[in-house]
């Protein structure tokens, strides 16, 4: 085989996933009004959170993040909500499991885990792209002290980008675990609500992790949920930097590997006892 042929051969699988990514993306782009509504909600929500924290900051006392860091954290969180939130799901995948369309998914010459992982990531990226620009634009134009700041340094920005990509993969791997468990329970909502409520708290979606009491903060920071949004949002504003940042990036990689392995094992177990619902 020539070098070129080998290259083409190794790229073939990538092309499949790219195509899958594209069609999931196109599908998502059909929902532009939903995106607009999402932008409004997220903007209002972000503003409310910031005002709430402002009240606390005005009372005074020592805070683990500067107000400017907090404001930036909140705006980024709202802009990239679709990338990191654990409470939204690919309804086609859940339908495939509980309704039996899994039959078609397994009739494709692709690895089921990779196929669904790609779809989950594509859906999240498509949603985030549709929503983030208006929110970021407004957040950068707001008057001080509510204005979002630029990244503290170019290095911090690079770390933010890397850790956002890793965070997206971790959240996709977590979602895959929930889908795999849906095979065993059939009612998807129980597992989903449980996962979502724990994850919300421990990932720093409700209150950023630095505000947690010491012991709880440690516990949360070691959990896989902290490997989602907590890290990129704090790297951007410089709340985390240096060796500490590298340590947590390592944690992100660790959790990604562990969660993907676990998800693959669960899916393999499922394949043996699969029942296609609805005949």
């Amino acid at each position: 085989m020539t070098a070129r042929g080998r290259l083409a051969g190794s790229l073939l699988p990538a092309k499949k996933y790219l195509a899958l990514f594209r069609v999931r993306f196109q599908n998502e782009m059909q929902y532009r009004v939903a995106a607009l509504a999402g932008v409004c909600t997220q903007f209002v929500w972000g503003f409310m959170e910031i005002l709430l924290f402002r009240a606390f900051y005005q009372v005074g006392g020592e805070m683990p993040m500067t107000f400017s860091q907090l404001v930036t954290y909140e705006w980024l969180q709202q802009a990239f909500l679709a990338l990191f939130m654990l409470w939204f799901w690919d309804k086609d995948i859940i339908e495939a499991i509980t309704g039996g369309n899994i039959a078609y998914e397994l009739a494709r010459p692709m690895d089921l885990y990779n196929m669904w992982f790609t779809r989950v990531a594509a859906q999240r990226i498509a949603r985030a792209l549709l929503r983030c620009l208006p929110i970021l634009l407004v957040a950068f134009l707001l008057p001080e002290p509510y204005r979002m700041s630029l990244p503290v340094s170019f290095g911090a920005f690079l770390l933010f980008v890397v850790s956002t990509a890793l965070g997206l993969c971790v959240v996709a791997a977590l979602t895959m675990l929930v889908y795999a468990l849906t095979f065993f329970t059939m009612s998807a909502s129980g597992v989903r609500i449980f996962a979502a409520s724990i994850a919300e708290l421990l990932s720093g979606a409700v209150v950023p992790l630095p505000f947690f009491p010491e012991k709880w903060r440690l516990l949360a920071e070691l959990s896989p949920f902290a490997a989602v949004q907590n890290l990129p949002l704090r790297l951007y504003s410089g709340n985390l930097a240096g060796d500490e940042a590298l340590f947590y990036l390592g944690m992100q990689v660790f959790w990604l590997v562990a969660l993907v392995l676990l998800g693959r094992i669960l899916l393999r177990l499922m394949r043996r006892r699969l029942v296609v619902q609805g005949g």
């Binding site: 069609v23 039996g100 494709r108 010459p109 296609v276 005949g279």
Partner: protein
């Protein structure tokens, strides 16, 4: 070449009778029964054969198709299709097969059908030239035309099904599994789909295995029939052979005025409605001409026809014979 030997598959099913009390009880103790969906199924299908797979609801037709297409892993038994085991070598195996599940959809709901086709092209790594040739041929034969540019959600069931069948054939599969492909189709679409499948089998030597409840499908397509009931293969033969099994009961349809129909051994009344009656004649007991003579002696016949059993009735009598 498809070979199945002693394939068995058991499903665990939670059982409870209706009612609130039972629902509460099932929270604490679930009663589980085992359903033997497949109970030692064996058969062989050669290359280029076209096989109709029939049986009542819940007989195990779809389960067999899902085992052969690598979706279900059986509890025991062997299956080799073109040298591969469907569930162990799933990815390599499914490249060579096409599957249509009549009750499900493989098209992306919100994007035009053509986008789904292009995704399938990339998933199966179909070369562009082959893809275009197949797509154009399928579009022409199944009359897809404008449908390709329409999102799947806006298609009617029949239109969607034609697109589904085309989607399963874009990668030139050597074997095609059709699980109730004509479900919900109108007469025109049904005939188009049947003609298409026949041509595919004749011109490209595609092996076709089809499950259906539509006996016209069987008559139009299946050279060979496999009858399955309660997870076992009960009969394997051609439609003609099956028809001969039944001793050649005949059906008399009479239109008459006045008089009452005679009752005699070997003559059974199937159906009667204002001056029109359907009777079955068992030629072992009573000859058809004697039956007609007896009829004309009692009633004024205005019209009369004699038919053999049609496929639908044949299947009903088979189901009855095997108590499935």
């Amino acid at each position: 070449m498809i070979e199945l030997a002693n394939i068995s598959k058991t499903f665990k099913v939670a059982k409870r009778t209706g009612g609130f009390g039972e629902a509460v009880k099932s929270l604490f103790r679930r009663e589980v029964t085992y359903v033997h969906a497949l109970d030692g199924v064996s058969f062989t299908v050669g290359d280029g054969e076209m096989v109709g797979y029939i049986g009542p609801n819940g007989a195990g037709k779809s389960s067999t198709v899902k085992v052969m297409s690598g979706i279900l892993t059986p509890d025991s038994g062997e299956c080799v299709i073109d040298g591969l085991c469907p569930w162990k070598d799933r990815k390599a195996h499914v490249k060579n097969i096409g599957v249509v599940f009549g009750q499900r959809s493989q098209l992306w709901w919100d994007v035009p059908v053509i986008d789904s086709f292009e995704l399938i092209r990339d998933i199966y790594a179909v070369p562009e030239a082959v893809y275009l040739r197949n797509r154009n041929r399928l579009a022409e034969m199944l009359d897809l035309g404008e449908l390709l540019k329409t999102p799947a959600r806006q298609l009617s069931l029949g239109q969607r099904m034609r697109c589904e069948i085309a989607a399963s054939l874009l990668h030139d599969p050597k074997i095609l599994f059709l699980d109730e492909p004509t479900i919900g189709l109108d007469a025109v679409s049904k005939i188009a789909v049947r003609d298409f499948i026949r041509e595919l089998n004749r011109d490209r030597k595609t092996t076709v295995i089809l499950t259906t409840h539509d006996m016209q499908d069987i008559e139009a397509l299946a050279e060979r029939i496999l009858l399955i009931g309660k997870g076992r293969i009960l009969l394997d033969g051609t439609l003609e052979q099956l028809k001969h099994r039944n001793t050649g009961e005949k059906k008399l349809t009479v239109e008459y005025t006045g008089g009452t129909l005679p009752t005699m051994d070997g003559l059974t009344l199937l159906h009667r409605q204002s001056g029109r009656a359907e009777l079955s004649v068992d030629p072992g007991i009573l000859s058809v001409s004697d039956a007609i003579a007896a009829l004309s002696g009692q009633v004024e016949i205005t019209d009369l026809s004699v038919q053999g059993m049609d496929t639908e009735e044949l299947v009903v009598s088979l189901y009855r014979e095997f108590r499935i």
